[in-house]
């Protein structure tokens, strides 16, 4: 039931993509149906197999990269559209001709189908990814595609499709589906990348000329530079990167010159041609407008994922007289349930929050509930990964326990048959060295 609910954005995106393809290749609906469905089935099957036989997060990385390539393609196409609309018509004869062949329609539909299928497969993990599920999903996708293609002819007759609009719309639907899956989400990582870029840029650019009482870089200026270190800059930057192509496509539509009508002598006829051209242009704006709405929906899904995080309250623990913390494997809490379990340890006015986790591989790890970079907001767990609440980075379960980046800071421990043994003082010190250090820098830094 919950799963069916989670499949809604995925099938919505599939229906939308098929609709766009049907509109984009109006004479090739059977081809779109066949190639799209074949692609979907192929993408689904391949991803099921990849997830089963490839370790860790690699399959997800591949799919993410493919969707990312879609974004880059969308940028290229939209910039080209603006270029073509301003200058004289740059001839792209092979492109135009290709887009009108059955092969062109087939390849577009196949590629879209593969990606949508692959994204859909990521919703299923482990035992869920079975042959009956595969058959059921493919059946649903084929039925949906045929229904959409049959219905599409009769609806939205004013919706005009064209290559750049089609690209933007297809990428929008891909992002809508991928952003509904935590591990495929591209928006949060993009936010981080932008933030890091702004951070590095400000550091390198300004620090290289950091002279104490520089003419420009006095403390007043630094107050503004602080803006570049905020989370906001990442969000807005990522938003710009997502939405600019849509705006460019809309701009390109508006820049295309209206047909020359001055030579038509009869006023009524001249105005009619002009009106038709204006109407056509207006109807072309519908596609980027819809794409923008879908992009916004994708951003919303990414910012407010409908995922329930496993977020246990920290349990207070104390050390034995010898300074050792002991956490039993079997007790009130079942440590071996592959979920993270949080604990709070206090000693002499100092404290440390940490968690114990058994990865699906059976590997044990004990880590601070904080990383060396972010504010110690702690971690939650969902869909094969833990997630830093501060920067929303996902860390796959297999890599929890490795140091560096936004990974939780590992703590030395010994796993025995009865439970986990941790040295209290080491724990407290580790928290003090890493976490408090970061906080202190944040407090004093401008």
């Amino acid at each position: 039931m919950a799963l069916a609910y989670k499949l809604i954005p995925l099938f919505l995106a599939w229906a939308g993509a098929v609709m766009v393809l049907g509109r984009g290749f109006p004479g090739r609906r059977p081809m779109v149906a066949v190639a799209g469905s074949a692609g979907y089935a192929g993408g689904l099957a391949a991803t099921f197999l990849l997830v089963r036989f490839l370790p860790g997060d690699l399959p997800f990385g591949i799919i993410k990269d493919a969707v990312g390539a879609g974004i880059i393609l969308m940028w290229g196409v939209s910039v080209a559209a603006v270029y073509r609309s301003t200058g004289r018509d740059v001839p792209l004869p092979w492109g135009e001709r290709f887009a009108h062949t059955r092969l062109g329609a087939g390849i577009c539909a196949l590629a879209t189908g593969i990606l949508v299928g692959a994204i859909c497969a990521c919703r299923f993990t482990g035992a869920d990814a079975s042959v009956p599920v595969f058959l059921l999903l493919v059946l649903a996708a084929v039925v949906l595609a045929c229904a959409v293609l049959a219905a599409e002819r009769f609806f939205f007759s004013s919706l005009t499709m064209y290559p750049s609009g089609m690209t933007v719309a297809l990428v929008a639907f891909l992002l809508l589906s991928s952003s509904s899956i935590l591990r495929l989400d591209l928006f949060s990582p993009l936010t981080m990348k932008v933030m890091k870029f702004a951070h590095d840029f400000v550091h390198q650019f300004f620090e290289s000329m950091l002279i104490p009482d520089h003419f420009f870089f006095n403390s007043f200026t630094w107050d503004f530079i602080g803006f570049f270190f905020g989370k906001q800059v990442g969000f807005w930057g990522a938003l710009i990167i997502w939405f600019v192509p849509v705006l460019l496509v809309a701009l390109a539509v508006n820049l295309v010159r209206l047909p020359a009508v001055a030579h038509i002598r009869q006023g009524a006829q001249r105005r009619k041609m002009l009106a038709a051209a204006i109407r056509e242009r207006r109807s072309r704006l519908v596609v980027p407008a819809l794409a923008a709405v879908i992009f916004a929906a994708a951003v919303y899904q990414s910012r407010f994922p409908s995922v329930e995080y496993w977020d246990p309250k920290p349990v207070s623990v104390t050390a034995s007289p010898s300074g050792e913390i002991f956490i039993p494997k079997k007790g009130e809490i079942d440590l071996e349930d592959e979920k993270l379990h949080k604990y709070l340890f206090k000693q002499g006015g100092r404290e440390a929050r940490f968690f114990v986790l058994m990865a699906p591989s059976g590997q044990w790890t004990v880590d601070l509930d904080a990383c060396a970079i972010c504010k110690p907001d702690g971690y939650g767990q969902a869909e094969g990964a833990v997630l830093c609440y501060y920067c929303r980075t996902l860390i796959p379960l297999d890599t929890v326990g490795k140091p560096g980046g936004c990974n939780p800071v590992p703590v030395p421990f010994t796993a025995k048959d009865d439970g986990i043994h941790i040295d209290g003082l080491t724990l407290i010190n580790r928290w003090g060295e890493t976490v408090q250090a970061t906080t202190r820098i944040k407090e004093t830094g401008k």
Binding site: A268, R270, R271, L274, A275, A276
Partner: protein
């Protein structure tokens, strides 16, 4: 003999029990000027409105140009009126708070897109080059009717319909309007169908038909009109 722009057969229109138009067979040649006469209530306006696509007949068949008006949907009928028909009424139906040129531009807007230069030159053609910015209330009856003519011809209709356009005008203004229509028809080659009470006005046409109680009772050619 030119092709017929209008052909009706067995065309009827009834309002409940009242039969405003009895089965009517009528042909109008392309470029012809047809006058329609009859007593008040004889069905002249009913016939004109049906031919202009403003009203639907109750039965029979009606072809105007390429279009079978009985088969058209509401949208099709609206498109037909836009592309085919210009109408002048006895009451001018101008928008009171818009200037003459804006009133003409409004017709352009509903047809396609407004074009002020073209609207001005249309008003100049009907001799109102000096009253472009005046509102209908500031114009005489004859001038108002000339704005209506400019508005009716601005979208190059094939069919110009008049429902007693000179009914409210004095003799001199009437003659000016008729003269203007004759000039414009010579240039634009549209077909004119003119409903009138006035025998003298009727003789400006090539042919006059007489309606009585919804029946075509008489038809005559006019010597003067065939000049």
């Amino acid at each position: 003999m030119a092709a017929n722009i209008i052909e009706t057969s067995g065309l009827t229109r009834s309002y409940g029990d009242i039969c405003a138009l009895k089965p009517l067979d009528l042909r109008v040649a392309e470029g012809e000027w047809l006058s329609v006469m009859g007593h008040s209530g004889s069905g002249k306006s009913t016939l004109l409105n049906i031919m202009g696509g403003l009203d639907r007949p109750s039965g029979g068949s009606l072809r105007v140009g390429e279009e079978d008006l009985l088969a058209l949907t509401e949208d099709g009928l609206a498109r037909f009126r836009r592309d085919y028909v210009g109408i002048i009424f006895q009451q001018h139906h101008l928008v009171p708070y818009l200037s003459a040129v804006e009133n003409v531009m409004l017709a352009q807007y509903f047809h396609s897109v407004p074009d002020e230069a073209e609207a001005r030159s249309a008003l100049e053609r009907v001799g109102l080059g000096h009253r472009l910015k005046n509102r209908p209330g500031e114009l005489s009856g004859g001038e108002q009717q000339r704005v209506c003519i400019a508005r009716a011809i601005i979208n190059s209709p094939k069919l110009l319909l008049g429902d007693e356009p000179t009914g409210n005008l004095d003799h001199k203004s009437t003659l000016m309007i008729m003269e203007l229509l004759r000039e414009l028809r010579a240039e634009e080659r549209f077909t004119v169908i003119m409903v009138t009470h006035n025998q003298e006005v009727a003789t400006w046409g090539d042919r006059t038909i007489y309606l009585d109680d919804g029946v075509l009772v008489r038809e005559e050619r006019n010597e003067q009109g065939e000049s």
